[in-house]
């Protein structure tokens, strides 16, 4: 085999592997879409509309700024809420990891918050706040804060004592300890926390917008419900789903790059 042939064979192997990966990712969605489309042949459009109609409606939302701005507003609300909850949660987690007294004080409060339903936070927010944005931000933060706090706390507590001791033996400054040990050690759990909370946040934001907003995907879904427009309901839902999928893909990409050091066993779970 010549060098050129070997290179071609290597490229085709890489191409086949990429195709297999893409295929395994797309297949479940294709099966679900086919089942829905099949159902649309037998049910009225207000129950199971054709996916072709949904597709065109999705395009019209994306192509029309007056509608797409609602999607953008929802996305920004999710990201702002998650960022706020992450910042406060990380602070709480560090404080709890450093002090037993803070841990004993904050832990029951966060557990209590965790037990309060999202809808209750919506009601509290409507009573406590005037503006729409502060209301939604508050709801997003309160519903995702306990999970972020506990997940980051868990990551800090699970940090290898041996490795921390090794880094400490070089007498690093607090900032250097953070950069060289703590952040890399907790990053996997932080990314997982973001992935989990992203799903939760996208569900909660819709509830918050349904009740208390005059714009956003939740508000638009309410409009579709009032006119029994299933095509619109699906198209608006899909906007949010696409956003979640895109962010999940970005987080997965970050994971792939950041955790390339991990050994991969040939015999996996």
């Amino acid at each position: 085999m010549t060098a050129a042939q070997a290179q071609l064979s290597g490229m085709s192997r890489f191409g086949a592997a990429a195709l297999r990966r893409t295929g395994s990712y797309v297949l479940p969605f294709a099966v679900l879409a086919a089942a829905w489309q099949f159902a649309s042949l037998f049910f009225p459009p207000f129950l199971f509309p054709s996916l072709v109609d949904v597709f065109w409606r999705c395009l019209s939302i994306v192509g029309d700024w007056s509608q797409f701005s609602d999607v953008v507003a929802t996305v920004l609300r999710i990201l702002a809420g998650l960022a706020g909850a992450f910042a406060i949660g990380a602070l709480f987690a560090v404080m709890m990891a450093r002090s037993r007294a803070v841990h004993d004080f904050l832990s029951p409060i966060l557990t209590l918050f965790q037990g309060i339903p999202a809808l209750s936070w919506v009601v509290f927010a409507i009573i406590w706040f005037h503006g729409i944005e502060p209301r939604i931000f508050f709801i997003m933060v309160m519903t995702t804060l306990p999970a972020f706090s506990f997940q980051i706390l868990g990551a800090l507590q699970a940090m290898s004592r041996d490795l921390t001791e090794m880094v400490m033996s070089f007498r690093p400054t607090r900032l250097k300890l953070f950069r060289s040990m703590i952040i890399p050690a907790v990053l996997p759990d932080i990314l997982t926390a973001w992935k989990v909370n992203l799903g939760n946040a996208s569900r909660v934001v819709v509830v918050a917008e349904l009740v208390g907003a005059t714009g956003g995907v939740g508000y638009e879904l309410l409009q579709q419900q009032q006119v029994f427009d299933m095509v619109g309901a699906l198209a608006w839902t899909l906007q949010l789903v696409f956003f979640v999928l895109i962010v999940q893909a970005i987080l997965t990409l970050i994971e792939r790059i950041a955790f390339r050091y991990r050994a991969v066993s040939e015999r996996t779970l």
């Binding site: 400490m168 007498r171 950041a258 050091y261 991990r262």
Partner: protein, 247 residues
């Protein structure tokens, strides 16, 4: 005197309580500049506790530990770059390549990136790891990983080296070869070293002074010697150590 322990005791748990455990009992010990002390004793005799107190990672319950006249626990930051540790297991950061692991101490000492890389590469080369600098720890064998950890300790050019059974997890052939390299590097670079071991052979091979501990860590035997004396009296020394450990 490089390292000094004066009447040092360490109790784990609340002193006097039922669960309290006396790990080190009023130990007095001096290690001279440039000396390579082998601290020998059975498992659980308090070797690692002494080690951690000298490293400044734990505080004595009673007595005083000084390194170059300062308290390694209280003046923790003052020892930055002056003390390096080789641990029992390699303790490499899994998210860093071999060369990045060696650079860790140099980063903490705020050396420039190019200087860090130059020093780290030269130590990896000295320890026979050229070509593996970009490998992650999982891709290295146990012996290679331990050599990276030795390179990491030497790279900071610390005057005092503390080694906690660094070769105990390796096979005898690899351990013997690394011990040889280690002794050569310590002597060439004029370091003061405390080497913890539970192996009589290793203590005889490495130390130019051997201290045998009995539980709770008190000095049962102190054998200062020069290399020539050691070779002449190896069997006699071995016999004395064995007798003390057996007792």
């Amino acid at each position: 005197m490089a390292i000094q322990l004066a009447g040092v005791s360490k109790v784990f748990g609340k002193p006097g309580s039922a669960g309290a455990y006396l790990a080190v009992d009023k130990i007095d010990l001096q290690v001279e500049q440039g000396q390579m002390l082998a601290l020998l004793g059975k498992t659980g005799c308090g070797k690692s506790t002494i080690f951690n107190m000298v490293a400044g990672l734990t505080e004595p319950t009673e007595g005083r530990v000084t390194v170059d006249g300062r308290n390694p626990f209280g003046d923790f930051d003052a020892f930055r770059g002056r003390m390096a540790i080789v641990f029992q297991n390699d303790r490499l950061l899994p998210w860093r390549t071999a060369v990045q692991n060696v650079e860790l101490g140099l980063e903490i000492l705020e050396k420039s990136a190019s200087e860090r890389r130059g020093i780290a590469m030269s130590w990896l080369e000295k320890l026979g790891l050229r070509g593996h600098e970009n490998d992650y720890p999982h891709a290295l064998s146990g012996g290679m990983r331990q050599r990276v950890s030795i390179a990491r300790a030497f790279a900071t050019n610390a005057n005092i080296l503390l080694c906690d059974e660094p070769f105990s997890a390796l096979d005898e052939m690899t351990a013997r070869r690394l011990r040889g390299e280690f002794v050569r590097l310590v002597k060439e670079n004029g370091k003061t070293a405390i080497f913890i071991t539970h192996s009589i052979n290793e203590a005889l091979e490495i130390g130019d002074r051997i201290i045998v501990l009995k539980r709770p860590a008190t000095i049962a035997l102190d054998i200062p010697h020069k290399e020539t004396d050691f070779r002449e009296h190896e069997e006699a020394i071995r016999k004395r150590i064995q007798d003390v450990l057996a007792a």
